[in-house]
C-alpha cells in the first residue's frame, strides 16, 4: 500500500542518512558523497516536518564534503551552492551568507562582495525574524567589505599625497565607500550583539572623518547599554578611544574601573594598577592594591612576573612607609586561608626557582611580608639565593627580617 511505501521510503532515507553520517564522521568523504547522491532522491517525496528538511541537509552535507574533500575545486563548490540556493529557498539567505564566508576564507573578496550585493536585493514572501537577522548580517558584512576597500584606497591616497599627487577619482571612490560602509555598519551596531569587528571599523571610519562625538556615542552605547552582553572588548575599545583622544586621567581610570568590576582578571589591569600607582591620591593607591591582589587571584596570572612585581613594589612601599598597613591586612584577610597553598607552597618555590628566578624573587618578597620569614616559600628561595650567592636575595632576606613585625601586625 502507499502508506507502507511511504514508511519504507522514510526508513531507507533514515538508513541512508545514517550511512552518510557515519562516513563523514570517519572522514570518508568520497563514500559520503556517493551516499549523498542516493539521498538526493529524498527530495522527491518530502513529507517531513522536521525543522531541518532534506534540502537543508543536502546543502549542509554537500558543503561539508566539498570543503573537506581534498580534490574539490572552488568552481565545483560555487556550482553546488548555486543549485542549493534554488533548492533550499527557505534558507536562501543563510546559504548565501555561508557561501560568502567560504569565499572570504578563500580570499575571494570581490566574488564575496558581488554575492552580498546580489543577496541583498533578494525578496521572497514575508520575512521571518530569522531572515531579518540574516539580512542585517549580510548588509553588515557588505559594509565591512566596503570598509576594507575604503581603507585600501585611503592607504593609496596617503601614499600618493606623500608623493604630492592627489588623485581625485580615488578620493571620490573612497568617500563613496565610506558612505556605503557607514550606513550598513551603523545599522548593525545598534542591535544587541557582539559586533567587535563592525564596531572597530565603524569607529575607525568616524574618527578618520573627525566625527568623534558619534564615535564616542557608539562606543559608549556598545559598552554600557545593558541590552548588550558584558563584552570586555567593548570597554577596551572605549578605553583605547579615550586614550587616543587624550582624555583626562580621571575618565581613563573610571573606564578601567568598570572593566575591573566586570573582568578583574583582564590584562589591562596591569596598566590600570600602574596608572593608579602614579596618582597622588591615597584612594587611588588603595584601589591599585585591590586591583593587583584581585588579578593574582586568578589561575591564569599565577606565574605572571609583571603582576607579581607590581604587587611586590606596592607592598614594599607600604611596608617601608609603615602607613596603610591596614590596607594590606584587609586584602590579606580574605586570602590568607588559600593563598599560601595556591601561591606559596614549597613545590611552587622549587619550580619557580628552577624556571624563573626573578619571579621567585618577587614572590618571595610578598611571601616574606605576608607570611613572615618562616614561610616555606620565602625560606626556600632565600636559602637557594644564599647558595647561589646572588646579591639581591641577600638584600631581600635582610629586608624581610627587618620588617618582620609587619607580618605580625598583618596576621594579628
Amino acid at each position: 500500500s502507499s502508506h507502507e511505501h511511504k514508511l519504507n521510503f522514510k526508513k531507507s532515507k533514515e538508513v541512508c542518512l545514517s550511512y552518510i553520517q557515519d562516513a563523514m564522521l570517519q572522514k570518508q568523504w568520497k563514500r559520503a558523497a556517493e551516499f549523498l547522491t542516493f539521498y538526493v532522491e529524498s527530495l522527491e517525496k518530502d513529507y517531513s516536518r522536521e525543522h531541518i528538511g532534506p534540502s537543508e541537509m543536502i546543502w549542509r552535507i554537500g558543503t561539508e564534503i566539498l570543503c573537506r574533500h581534498s580534490h574539490s575545486s572552488m568552481r565545483e563548490f560555487n556550482c553546488f551552492i548555486e543549485q542549493m540556493k534554488t533548492l533550499g529557498i527557505k534558507r536562501y539567505l543563510k546559504i548565501c551568507l555561508e557561501h560568502v564566508f567560504h569565499l572570504l576564507c578563500n580570499g575571494q573578496i570581490d566574488e564575496a562582495y558581488q554575492n552580498l550585493s546580489l543577496t541583498e536585493s533578494w525578496r521572497f514572501g514575508d520575512q521571518t525574524a530569522i531572515q531579518d537577522k540574516e539580512m542585517k548580517l549580510i548588509q553588515a558584512y557588505r559594509g565591512l567589505l566596503d570598509y576594507y576597500s575604503w581603507s585600501k584606497q585611503k592607504n593609496i591616497l596617503l601614499e600618493h599625497s606623500l608623493d604630492g599627487f592627489a588623485d581625485l577619482s580615488v578620493e571620490q571612490e573612497m568617500h563613496s565607500c565610506f558612505r556605503k560602509a557607514a550606513v550598513n555598519l551603523k545599522e548593525i551596531v545598534k542591535i544587541p550583539g557582539v559586533w567587535d569587528l563592525f564596531v572597530k571599523c565603524y569607529v575607525d571610519l568616524l574618527e578618520f572623518y573627525g566625527d568623534h562625538n558619534e564615535a564616542r556615542q557608539v562606543l559608549n552605547e556598545y559598552a554600557y547599554n545593558s541590552k548588550f552582553p558584558a563584552n570586555p572588548n567593548a570597554h577596551v575599545y572605549l578605553y583605547q578611544f579615550l586614550k587616543r583622544q587624550g582624555e583626562s586621567k580621571k575618565s581613563l581610570v573610571s573606564a578601567l574601573k568598570i572593566l575591573h568590576d566586570i573582568v578583574p582578571s583582564h590584562e589591562l589591569m596591569i596598566d590600570f594598577n600602574t596608572m593608579l600607582q602614579k596618582s597622588k591620591k591615597r584612594k587611588k593607591h588603595r584601589l591599585g592594591l585591590e586591583v593587583i591582589f584581585a588579578v593574582l587571584d586568578y589561575a591564569g596570572w599565577k606565574e605572571n612576573i609583571k603582576a607579581w612585581s607590581c604587587l611586590a613594589r606596592q607592598v614594599k612601599q607600604i611596608v617601608i612607609s609603615e602607613k596603610h598597613l591596614s590596607w594590606i591586612k584587609q586584602e590579606w584577610n580574605c586570602r590568607k586561608d588559600w593563598w599560601p597553598a595556591f601561591h606559596f607552597s614549597r613545590y611552587l618555590a622549587k619550580r619557580n626557582w628552577q624556571e624563573n628566578k626573578s619571579l621567585s624573587y618577587e614572590k618571595a618578597l610578598v611571601a616574606g611580608i605576608l607570611l613572615g620569614k618562616d614561610c616555606k616559600y620565602f625560606k626556600y628561595v632565600s636559602h637557594q639565593g644564599r647558595k647561589a650567592q646572588v646579591k639581591r636575595f641577600r638584600m631581600l632576606k635582610k629586608f624581610v627580617n627587618k620588617h618582620n613585625p609587619v607580618y605580625l601586625r598583618i596576621s594579628s
Partner: protein
Amino acid sequence: MEFPAALFPSYFGAGPPREEGGPAPAAGWGEHGQVLEDGSDLGRRQAQPAFVPRRGGTGEMWEPAEAAAVPVLPPGAGCWIPSPAPQDILYRNSRYRKLRPGKSGATLDFAKQLGHFFLDHPEDAFGSMGRLLHKNFYLGNSKLKVSVSLGISLLSPTIPLAASTSALSSLQRPARNSTIRMTALMEDIDRLEARRGCQQQHLASRLRWFSHLCRDWLFEVPLGLLADCLHEELMLQWSELLFDDSVTGGALAWLPPRDTGSCIGCLVHPGGQAMNQLYFQDMVLEELPRARGSPAQFELSGRIRQVAAAQVDEEDFVGVRSDYHCGVWRVPGRTGAAPTPLQVIHTDVPASCLTVSPHLPGELAVCTQSGTIYLWNIEIGLQQLRHDTQTMFFRDHSPWRWSDFTAHPRVLSCADRTGLQCLDARAPRKCHFDLFKVGEEAGCQQGERVVLPMYLGRAHPAQYLVTTQFSVYVLDERLPLVPMLKWAHMMKAPPLFAQLVPGNFGRSHKVLLGASRTQELLLLQYRGDTYWGSQSACQLAGAPQKLHSIAGCLQHLPTQLPHRHHLLQQRLGAPAAGGPLGLGKEEEEDGEEQTFYLSNLEVIINEEEEEENAGTPAPLEEAELPQESCASSQPTPAVPSPAAALRYRRWLRTLCRACKEPPQHTSSPGLSQRRLFTRRDLEGPAGPSALQRQVRQWLHQVMQEGGRIQRWEPLALQPPALPRPLEPAGGLDPLSTRLTAAWSGDWEQWWEERTSFSMAQRQRVLRERRQRQKRARGRQSLSASFTSSLTYQSELSELSDAAPPLLSSGHPPVLSQESSPPASSPLPSSPAASPAPDEALLSSQSLRRRGIPKERRKTLRDYLSVWAEGPPDPPELPGSQASQLCIPSSQSQLSSASQTRRKRPRMGF
C-alpha cells in the same frame, strides 16, 4: 590571560529559547558560522584582509592506528547479566510496536511484571492463604468425583495457589463438598495470555468472578500497595533506561606520567562484581598501552559512580563518588607510590557530582540531589555554598546538580539542567553571576538541557565546556552567557563524559565527548587563545571525528559459536560508565611523517544488574583501550595488527575462563539454582562406586592385555568413559539431544546425566532438591520479585556488606518454568541438575552465604511492617551498616535539610 582582541560577530537576545526543533541529523555540518579578520598577521598591511571561519578551518589529521578498539585490561570476573532492555519493560503489542521508546506512547508492561512477582514469589504473595486453601483447590484434569490421589502438589510450581511447602498431605478424605476444581480457571488464564494484544478482549466471566471474589483477601501483600511500588519501580527503570545521569562525569580517570620522560601513568577505575572496588592500575604507554604490575585496590561500600582526578603541585587527588559516600585519595608524585585514602563523607541524599580542584590540594566540590552544593576541604571540612531545591533559571524537575571550579580558586560554578552560575565561596549569597543559561542568550533550542559542564582550565584558565543533548558550547567566564563556540554535535545520546587534551604550543585543543548508552565517541578540535601567545577567538578546527566504539571490536574477535557471539555482543554493547580519556600525546618529527599519539579508553561497565536479592553481585567490569595512534600518512587499517589480534585472543580466553558456563538463557537472565545447594550436593557421588571401580579395573586389564572388548558386562550401565567429547559408540540417546545440549552450553550437565547410573537415585535426589528449593524460595524477600527483566540499580553493595549476597537465584528461569515438566520425568533441561561446581564461587561465596536466610527474613519483616504502619515512606536502609572498609579518618556527616533518603521505591527493603 589575554582576552581575544575581537570576537566573532553574533546576535544577543534575552529570554527563553525561541528556536524550535529537536535532534537534527545533519545540523552540525557545512557551516562556517561567522568569519573574523585573521588577527594573527594583522591583515591591514596586506593588500587584502584575510578571514578565518569560526567553524570549518583546518585541524590536525588523526587517523586510527588500529582497526578497532583494543582491550588493555583483562575482562572482569563474574557472571554477567545484561541490563534491562526496553522490551523487558514495555508492553509489546502490535499496536504499539511502531512507537519508538522515548515517545510518549510507550506503555509499561505492568501486568507482566506483576505476573512475574506472583510466579516467582508465590510464598510471599499468597503464602498463608495458599496453605489454608490448597486442600480445597483441585488442579487435576479428572473429574472431582474421583477421590483425589497423591502427587497433586508436585504440580505446584506452575500454580502459585498450591505452592505450599507442606508435605504431601492427605487428600484422601472425601473432598467433594469442600473442594473446587481450578483447572478450567487455569485454562482461561492461558487463553487470556494467548489472546494478548487482541483488540477485542473480553475477560472470561469465570475469571472475573474469581478475581472479584478473591481480590481482597487472597494476597499476602495488599494488592494496591504492591502495584504502587511496582509501578513506581517500573517508571524508575524506564526513566533510567531512557537517560541515566548517575554516571555523569564517568568513572574512569587517568593520572598522567609525572616526569616528562616517563611513560608510566596510572589508570583509576572501578571494578569488582558490584563495581565497588577501586583500582589504581599503572599503565605503560607504548604503541599498545599495557598494564604494569598489579593494581592497588580498595574496597568501597557502594557502587562507584564517578571518579574525578586533578593534579595539584605534582600530586594527584582522586575523588570517588558513590550514591551516599564520597571519598578522596592522594596519589603521591613519585612513580610507584601507593595511593592513600584521605577522607570520606556520607550524604543523606545521593550525591550527583564530585569534582576535584585543580588549584588547591585537597579541595573538592560536592553536589547532592537535594540541590545543595558544598566546598569540601579535607582540612577545613565542608562548607555549604548553596541550598536550593529549585532550579535556577526556569523550572525543571531534574534533581541533578553539578559543580566545578573556575579560574578563581574561590569561585565555583554550579549547574543544574537549566544553566550555570558562578558563586564566590567567600560570599556565596551575594557574589554570583550567570555563566550560561538555556535560553536565547546562547541561541539554545527549546527543550535543550545542560548535560555536562566541565572546566577547561588546562587548555585555557577562563574557558568552560558545556554540553547539552544537542550541542557543545565553549564559554569564557570573562564574557558570560555568550558562547565563544557552539556546535551541534549530532550524537545519538547525550554526551555524559568529556575529556580535554590540551594542545600546547599553538596546537589545537582536543575534546573527547562520550555517550554512555550508545558508546559514541567524538573527537573535536578547537583553537582558543593561548596563554600569552596569539590572541584569536575560539574556533572549531577540523572536522569532528568518530572514534571506535567498544562494540566495534566484536567483528575482529575470533569467530565464536552463535550463543557466545550473542553473549559477547551484549557484553561489549553494554553502556559505558566512563571515558573517554585522552591519554597523552607524543609528537615525533620524523622527516615528513608526523606521528601523533592519542588514546582513548573506556571502561565498559555493564549497567548494573542487581538481582533483586540483597546483593547478588553480578556486574562486571572490563577496561578496554581503543587506541588511536595516528599517523597522517597512513590509511585506516582494515584488520587489527598482530599485537592487537593477540590482545583480542587473550582477552577472549580470559573471558571464557571467567564465565565458564554461559548462561542457559542468554536472552532472559535467569537465575541459576546452583548456589542453592551445598557443596556436597553438587559434588555428586564421592568417588567411583564399587561397580565403576570394577569396570575400570577390568578395562585396564583388557588394555594391558591388548584384548578387545566384546560386550559390556553390566548391561544396564553405560560405559564410565572419561568425559571426553566423544560420542560413546552406539549412544542410547539420540545424537540431536547431545548436540542441542552442547550447543546451548549444557554439555557437561548432559554428560553428568548420562553417566549417572541409577535412574531411581536421580529421581530421589531431584525430589529432595525440589523440596529444598521450595523451602529456599519461601525465604526470599519480596525484592527478588521482578526477576529477570527488572532490576534495580541501587546501592547493591551497601547492602552487600550488611547482608552477604544471597544465592544468585532461587529461581528457575522466569516464565519458561510454567511449562516445566513434572518432576517424575527425566530432566534434561532442568536447572536443578546442576553442572559441576564452580570452585571460585563456592569458596568465596559459600562463606558469606550463611547469614542470609535470617537477613532476608528481616528485610521482609521490615517491609511488611512498613505497610502495616501506614502510608509508605521509603523505608530506611540500615545505612550505618554500610561500612567503609577502606576509608579511615574523619567521617563527617553532610547535614542536609531533608533527611529523607533517596526517594526510590524500594521493593522489599
